[in-house]
Symmetry: C2
Subunit: 430 residues, 2 copies
């Protein structure tokens, strides 16, 4: 990127700059697609070493970002996301090594079949091409997203939030050092070198076909903008309105353990439960202990009439509550008419992310798992397992709720496409 | 669709009409997603029977379309595509039975893994949702596309070309009879009941999120418009610039057989070869017989300098020829520097559809198959195998050259998405 000058707020040059970045990424993608696993892993491990070596500089760059953010009176949650300390830098470097250790997703044999005429057809994983990643304040996404794309043989175009400008630039410089050591092109991981917000709009157009898919990483307003404006496919979820349905035939102890974990382990993650649905037929046995458990754990409970009757601490739920992702220690609670009632509620108010049934009745579980149209459906386990690491994918670039290409946790395997390789012996078509 | 009045050219009502169709299709998609294989197959077989029974009416409706087309002086190729005769009607009905006979693609177990904590995770095929199909003159696409979508548990919104208006409406009515017999909603297969061209534009917006993917079936200008305007994913290929590379280590007899079939079996299909690349190192042995073979078979040959020297009948190729899909008995011929030269040419001028290497050298074949970035890459067989039927998919709705979701022939399996089904025993996340 040597000759891409940093332009701030100069709309006129931005278009040309963005197009250049797109063209270069497309060219680099071709090189990456043919790079060996060793070469990609070499780049990742080298970048990890550089990050460790340059940790003091990273702390300094981050201090600059933190100072600007404080001067702008940004909130404590954002400041926490923005902060790099020695532990976070070490963990960022470790992520790169972990991604290098994953099996290479390119060239995997996905399917093999033979035709009656003797043609042997293999379906083989190939890289997707160029992945655009638009993220907000967490500077470590620069390393994570760049590394996941590289592992899958894709070029990455990264657009960091303006708050993390200095931190992200330095992390990016470390990645580029790694690429160079492995003999891969600098353009394999591009960072948009401007804070101009119009750069996001340019990426959403696809940069003249240079970007194959966009992954937004950030809050709901970023994801909503990307989903509504992008002219290229998007891997994302707008929100995780996650439900736990506790059936009349549930084991109460199991339900309590799962519910507490699903809601309270971490309240700010997309797999955290937002609504508890209780089978009306089991309400006498289940509702009071489940609601009490949540309240005692410090969770605000907003309930329907029935929930309010079992405990005076329950606040009334409004219609809006059923479609609210709290991302906080708040839950909505409602009685429903069995599995079918739960499915109807989830299909009405859910976000097709992750939903769970707790029951000892296998047939009811099967109905729920089959009929709830969500990326992840769970029987008798916490919804906080909705995570690429927990699925064994090693790392994830996000979770998708769309139906096209990737759905659920998006790891390196989901960042690939495929082609058909046909082996013949002179066959012609009749 | 009883109460959807046919509106022709009334832009004001069209928007509301299209939105209604979208909403109904989305609702029907939910029913179809949960329909059993038997119920879907019942609908398909019943529709086949209705088509056979109503063949005389179909011939009459088609005669109306043919008369209007002739009155508009439409060309003979279009008239041929538009025509229905008894044989074509029988084959259309047979297609429905064939699709009913295919294995059900919904609910297939795509992957199964177990985590160290005992969670069992299945990746299971689900329907995509609502598929929009925009096609031109062939009325049988109404039946084929509707049936493929139905088999995969998707609702379909079909937009037939205005030339086939009456034929398509009647075929659609037969499909709806089949749906009713199986107790499935009429809206599972909707046909846009207007000739207003603005309906296409409305479909390309996705109808407020009601359409998940668009499949254009028709000429290059339709596909180009859909690809550039669609706000939803598109399964399509713009063109098939298909190459045959004959290597210095090719078996000449095999090369001749493959080339002749790839170019001349049918010249109008997307898998027909458009460019012959010959290895410079083997030109003395290969070029004259290959060029002579094509010329003798009635194929026009447009060649580079070398090709023109071996036969006086060869016309000069212009730069434009290398990126032209003739869809006719014409081929362009060029010498290239080995496998690498062939790959470079294909990556410069190709359309990522189907490309073939003819060689007895396995290492060269592997390089070609790995490095050519096309949906289908073939070693030692005709490129006219680029077809869902030939791949064993039973039937195809088209061939895709995009990298997202579906690539190559798009059959019923490619018209599905998936979800993760997690079976636990009370596991919580640490």
């Amino acid at each position: 990127m040597e000759n891409l000058k940093i332009v701030e707020g100069e709309g006129g040059d931005l278009d040309a700059l963005m197009r250049t970045i797109g063209r270069r990424a497309r060219k680099a993608a071709r090189v990456l697609a043919l790079a060996s696993p060793d070469q990609k892993n070499h780049a990742l491990r080298a970048a990890a070493l550089v990050i460790r070596r340059r940790a003091p500089e990273l702390l300094e760059a981050n201090a600059q970002d933190m100072a600007s953010a404080r001067a702008k009176n940004l909130g404590p949650a954002l400041l926490d996301r923005l902060l790099l300390d020695e532990k976070r830098i070490a963990s960022m470097a470790q992520s790169l090594d972990d991604i290098a250790d994953l099996p290479d997703p390119v060239g995997r044999l996905l399917e093999r079949f033979e035709r009656p005429n003797g043609l042997k057809i293999d379906r083989v994983a190939t890289p997707l091409g160029v992945v655009g990643v638009i993220f907000e304040s967490r500077p470590n996404v620069t390393a994570d997203a760049g590394a996941l794309c590289l592992k899958a043989g894709n070029a990455a175009i990264l657009r960091a939030g303006s708050e993390s400008f200095h931190s992200s630039r330095l992390i990016h410089a470390c990645l580029v050092e790694g690429l160079r050591e492995a003999g891969l092109p600098d353009d394999a991981i591009a960072l948009i070198p401007t804070r101009d917000r119009a750069a996001v709009g340019a990426m959403l157009t696809g940069l003249d076909g240079a970007i194959d898919v966009i992954v937004p990483r950030g809050g709901k307003s970023l994801v909503a903008r990307v989903q509504s404006e992008a002219r290229v496919p998007v891997f994302a979820h707008l929100e995780g309105i996650v439900h736990i349905y506790v059936d009349a035939e549930a084991d109460l102890a199991k339900a309590e353990k799962i519910l507490l974990n699903a809601k309270m382990r971490r309240t700010g993650v997309c797999g955290a439960a937002e609504t508890l649905l209780v089978d009306r037929a089991g309400a006498d046995r289940l509702l009071a202990p489940l609601v009490g458990l949540l309240l005692d754990a410090g969770c605000e409970v907003r309930g329907d009439e029935a929930a309010r009757q079992v405990d005076g601490r329950v606040k009334p739920a409004s219609e809006e509550d059923w479609s609210t992702e709290y991302l906080d220690a708040i839950i909505s609670v409602k009685l429903v008419g069995g599995v079918q009632g739960a499915i109807d509620h989830i299909e009405t108010y859910g976000s097709h992310h992750t939903d769970c049934i707790v029951t000892e009745n296998a047939a009811k579980a099967e109905q729920f798992l089959r009929e709830v149209d969500s990326a992840i459906v769970i029987h008798n386990a916490s919804t906080q397992f909705a995570d690429g690491g927990e699925f064994g994918f090693g790392a994830e670039i996000g979770i998708a709720t769309g139906r096209m290409h990737a759905r659920g946790p998006v790891g390196v395997a989901q960042l690939t496409s495929f082609k058909y390789v046909v082996h013949g012996e002179g066959q012609t078509r009749a």
